[in-house]
Assembly symmetry: C2
Homo-oligomer: 328 residues x 2
């Protein structure tokens, strides 16, 4: 019997959210919409030039598991922080939602990782991530008791940027499948896909049951400009694929089954950070609760719409109340 509905493995990060002009991105050669990895000194130099900011727990998978728990799911998180103030913040914000987070903090070495999130006036976000302690996630941190007892183990593609984290990922997938559970992956970032395409392709084909990707990521994976071609390519490569397209909604594919899910209307688009993370939260909540795939997609859309209507990638509204009409 599964103790957890969802176990997430990801980079444990605190977001430093600041509004920026596009000229700032140009001046620092930052590709708009992407996530780039930076070292401590680059992160510091960039922060020094940023305007006022707000600190909010983040991390792609952290956001997903937070949203999942806010919906009422039983969640666990595996990831690495240091025993510092930001580590405290990250840990607190998951525990406050009832998420089990038992990975021990590092007690020396780099500080808790941060992601400088630069939000443009058009609500697009560009991220400069200093992984810090998150870098120290190793296969030993993957607790078999967690992964084997979770209906779904969810992994963020960003982990692929560091070999030990990638090994942790593979170990988790093997443990989960060995226990008859499902494994889910989000491709995370087009540039991350570009950096690790062969490995992502192998994974999707052989190890992933539920895949999340946006248009840029899925077309990068299959090296095509055509969303339709990418969609045809992914069908059959994993049990379920959720392909998100921002305001154009999403597609949920499962064998011959195809669902077109409209995006929720968002009155004031503020900050697109976390849209994909919360889509996954809603979808996986529906999936682990046994709802049909169309309903799972609808839950994903509702949660994504909530998180892009304010700054920060963690939900602010009562998600349970928000999705209740869709479940009625």
């Amino acid at each position: 019997m599964a103790d957890y509905d969802l176990a997430g493995i990801g980079n444990a990060l605190v977001d430093v959210v600041a509004r920026t002009e596009d000229s700032f991105l140009d001046d620092h050669s930052l590709p708009k919409g992407a996530m780039i990895l930076v070292e401590a000194d680059q992160s510091r130099a960039l922060y020094d030039q940023l305007g006022t900011a707000v600190e909010i727990s983040g991390g792609s998978c952290g956001n997903t598991i937070a949203g999942f728990a806010a919906l009422g799911g039983q969640g666990a998180f595996i990831g690495k922080v240091r025993n510092d103030q930001f580590g405290d913040v990250f840990r607190h914000d998951l525990k406050a939602l009832g998420v089990d987070f038992a990975t021990p903090s590092t007690v020396d070495g780099p500080s808790t990782g941060i992601s400088l999130i630069l939000v443009s006036t058009d609500a697009q976000r560009t991220m400069c991530t200093y992984l810090g302690a998150a870098n120290h996630l190793s296969p030993e941190d993957v607790d078999p008791n967690v992964v084997q007892n979770a209906k779904v183990t969810y992994l963020e593609g960003y982990l692929f940027d560091r070999p030990p984290a990638k090994r942790a990922f593979v170990r988790a997938a093997e443990l989960a499948h060995g226990a008859g559970q499902k494994v889910s992956l989000t491709l995370s970032d087009k540039f991350c896909v570009d950096r690790h395409r062969p490995e992502f392709l192998g994974l999707v084909e052989h190890h992933i049951d539920i895949l999340f990707a946006n248009e840029a990521e899925i077309t990068a994976l299959y090296e095509t400009d055509s969303f339709d071609k990418a969609m045809q390519a992914v069908r059959g490569h994993c049990e379920i694929a959720c392909l998100t397209r921002s305001e154009r909604g999403s597609l949920v594919l499962c064998g011959d089954e195809v669902h077109v899910i409209d995006a929720e209307t968002v009155e004031h688009l503020v900050d697109s950070t976390g849209a994909g993370d919360l889509y996954a939260a809603g979808f996986l909540y529906g999936y682990t609760q046994g709802y049909d795939l169309a309903k799972c997609g609808r839950l994903g859309s509702i949660c994504a719409a909530e998180v892009i209507s304010h700054y920060g990638a963690r939900p602010e509204s009562d998600l349970k109340a928000l999705v209740a009409p869709a479940l009625a």
Copy 2:
């Protein structure tokens, strides 16, 4: 010639902003609307029981100087953080606005102070402050070059809770007046006034040129239930008194001159934290730029209305643009 328009001296704090039910306040015997000082272990115990939070630079005087700088004023801040992550955050958010903040960080001892800000559903805020490094502010930290060269030195009443900070306060007032500059004080908190009434009364009578107080504070100072009586009492005790009354607006008193300032309409009252701080920012900006007192009060109202329409006590909108019509 004054290099600064405003020098602020206050507790350097990072706010940990969380929404709470009133039952949480009751369960922990927290007087709604007040600021209580807590020790490190109490702060930790309370934080452990709080829901998810967001971290934003704060501190009453820090908020004022941030708003002042956002309006275009030249500001300096004197206060104490530690060289830790929250200290970095506090320092960054002032520097990003062009505020000079040269007080050296402590390198050992308690961590940077935090204020747990519990925001109720009616937007009222209750604060539990762990002063941490802010406690270590001493008279030696008051740089004469800053205070003597600022048109106005602004002090937060909260400093009165700790003797060395109080001495720093008195030193600053003497230096400022010795250089022919103005000294301003905010009473900060009714309970703080209760704790130090005789000293506050002496100060207001002899050392303060511009006083800020809300209704609860000014009636506490003069031990009366009547706002009108408190208002009569304060007239003549300092050059200018600004008495704020939330949605009922404010009064600006200066000798025989009395201005009634209406509150700005706020569409969605979200979090009242920082209302007084930002009123002071707007008023003092107007004052240091030579505007008449009615206009100064109007600027205060506009800035206060901005900050209570979102979470956090630092302005989020472009304050310059917001006050432009009032200055046209």
